[in-house]
Amino acid sequence: MKVKVDQARCQGHTLCAMNAPEIFELDDVDGHASAVSEDVPAGHESHVINAVRSCPEQAIFVEDRS
């Protein structure tokens, strides 16, 4: 699974990092999110899906190649 945060849409609600703290990091200065790595480590898929479903701006996109 691959994950990406659209920086133009993210407004720093921080729900992704709440749902999947290992996958998303928040900028110290404005709290906007980005994926630590584009590739989601095995076992974290369901957390990423929860993050996608929780994002108020619908700014997170995943691609599942499995």
Partner: protein, 456 residues
């Protein structure tokens, strides 16, 4: 308007619903009104308050609120642009001539203000303060712990957000009452109340005090949001005092009564649902985040905001005309069954909780990390020190209307008394002021990264 336009207007506004957001009826029948709007017209026209649109559907609110190219927050108090009236419907009497800070601005100005303040308010910035916030909460509870009685609004939820907001601003925290009462009263006093003029004057006096503090910090800089604003670059220049007045008012308005309202509602609900309270306390490590978001969704403190349509457009299936006024209801969008299963029930473990309580788009509440942190720190200590508290419905007073904030005036409760753990509030605030000054906690996270150290 030509006859053709008038007919076109009639057609555009064919989905009509009588909605008065200032009426007690909206407070009393909020869920019913929300269901009717969702079922009949998720974007409706109402003739109240000069006529305006009401967006209540989750999908519609999502599309409209994020369309920055077609909606404006501008409050053009001097009539220099297009005369837009900002985020209040109708524009408030007391606010006439005052712009509500960057919440009543559009980009790029609005963005410049936020860029100046973000490093004080980001998750990393707020996390530094947690031991300091815990100490304020501890002192509030110590004031009441031996008595076995507390008013959760007056004695806790009014105090902590106020003290912390002032600390971040760089204003002496011992003065919290000077700001807290007016900030609370302008929210709980209905526009039609005979008391509204007095409350307006109280609020004006608070504004005067803010102006004095602004001048003082300009003269003798001390770290905090006020200093950050004085030195902000807005379109390449430092902002004038008249704009800063509005921004300071916005920080007080946003920082004080909102978290108070959220906390009071959550504490009340948890008293009515003691098994859920015990579960949340027990499973706090896994449940506190989702429960916080669920209380935010269910009891959205800021129920909605006004906007002005800035260009003719079609959004969410509705034809809007430039200049139309629009009410975007965060609270109603949070109860849309199309977006949330069992929307009128609280589920502390709710997943996919894409609520709108901090707004959407470029105006996302800049204090959202403050609100969440302060809320959680208050709740945890209440669980630890007053685990069997019972609220008294007889003494509980909700706001008469939910014009802006869905809040509470009083929430008295009783609990099994316990021992004090430290000094009372006044002494604690003196100590915490020193801690704040010596450790320069109110600096932005770009300057000061260390977590607050508070002696046990």
């Amino acid at each position: 308007m030509s006859v053709e336009d008038a007919i076109g207007d009639e057609e555009r506004k064919k989905n009509r619903y009588h909605f008065d957001r200032h009426a007690p009826d909206y407070r009393d029948r909020a869920e019913e009104i929300t269901r009717e709007l969702h079922a009949q017209c998720p974007v409706a026209w109402t003739d109240t308050h000069g006529g305006h649109w009401v967006a209540s559907g989750n999908r519609e609110v999502f599309e409209i609120a994020r369309s920055a190219e077609y909606i404006s927050n501008d409050h053009d108090v001097k009539g220099e642009r297009r005369g837009y009236q900002g985020i209040s419907i109708p524009a408030p009497q007391r606010g006439r001539g005052n712009r509500g800070g960057f919440l009543e601005m559009d980009p790029p100005e609005q963005r410049h203000y936020r860029q100046a303040l973000n490093p004080y308010l980001s998750p990393a910035a707020i996390n530094r303060w947690i031991p300091w916030i815990d100490e304020v909460v501890r002192a509030c509870l110590d004031e009441k712990i031996e008595e076995g009685r507390i008013d959760f609004v007056e004695d806790l939820a009014n105090v902590v957000p106020a003290v912390f907001t002032l600390a971040m601003m760089g204003i002496p925290i011992k003065d919290w009452r000077t700001y807290s009462e007016p900030a609370h009263a302008v929210m709980y006093t209905p526009l039609t109340s005979p008391d509204i003029m007095r409350v307006g004057q109280l609020h004006m006096a608070m504004q005067q005090e803010l102006i004095r503090r602004l001048a003082e910090i300009r003269e003798n800089p001390r770290p905090g949001l006020v200093n950050g604003l004085i030195n902000a670059e807005i379109n390449g220049e430092n902002p004038p005092d008249e704009e800063l007045r509005g921004v300071l008012g916005l920080l007080i308005g946003g920082g004080f009564d909102t978290t108070t309202a959220l906390t009071a509602h959550a504490i009340e609900w948890l008293s009515e649902n003691p098994a859920e309270r015990d579960r949340l306390s027990r499973e706090r490590d896994t449940l506190l985040d989702s429960a916080t978001e669920e209380f935010l969704r269910f009891y959205a403190p800021v129920v909605g905001n006004g906007r002005t349509i800035s260009a003719d457009c079609e959004l969410a299936g509705t034809q809007f005309k430039e200049g139309d006024r629009l009410w975007v209801s965060w609270a109603m969008a949070n109860r849309d069954p199309a977006a949330f299963d069992n929307p009128d029930q609280i589920d502390l473990a709710r997943e996919g909780n894409r609520h709108n309580s901090f707004g959407l788009g470029i105006h996302r509440c800049i204090g959202s990390n403050v609100a969440r942190t302060v809320f959680k720190r208050m709740l945890l200590q209440v669980f630890d020190r007053m685990p069997d508290y019972v609220c008294d419905p007889e003494g509980t007073v909700h706001y008469e209307t939910i014009s802006v904030i869905n809040g509470m005036r009083f929430l008295p409760a009783t609990f099994t008394p316990g021992p004090r753990l430290g000094p009372g509030l006044a002494e604690t605030l003196e100590t915490l002021q020193q801690v704040c000054d010596e450790q320069r906690l109110a600096e932005p996270v770009t300057v000061q990264k260390a977590r607050a150290k508070v002696a046990d």
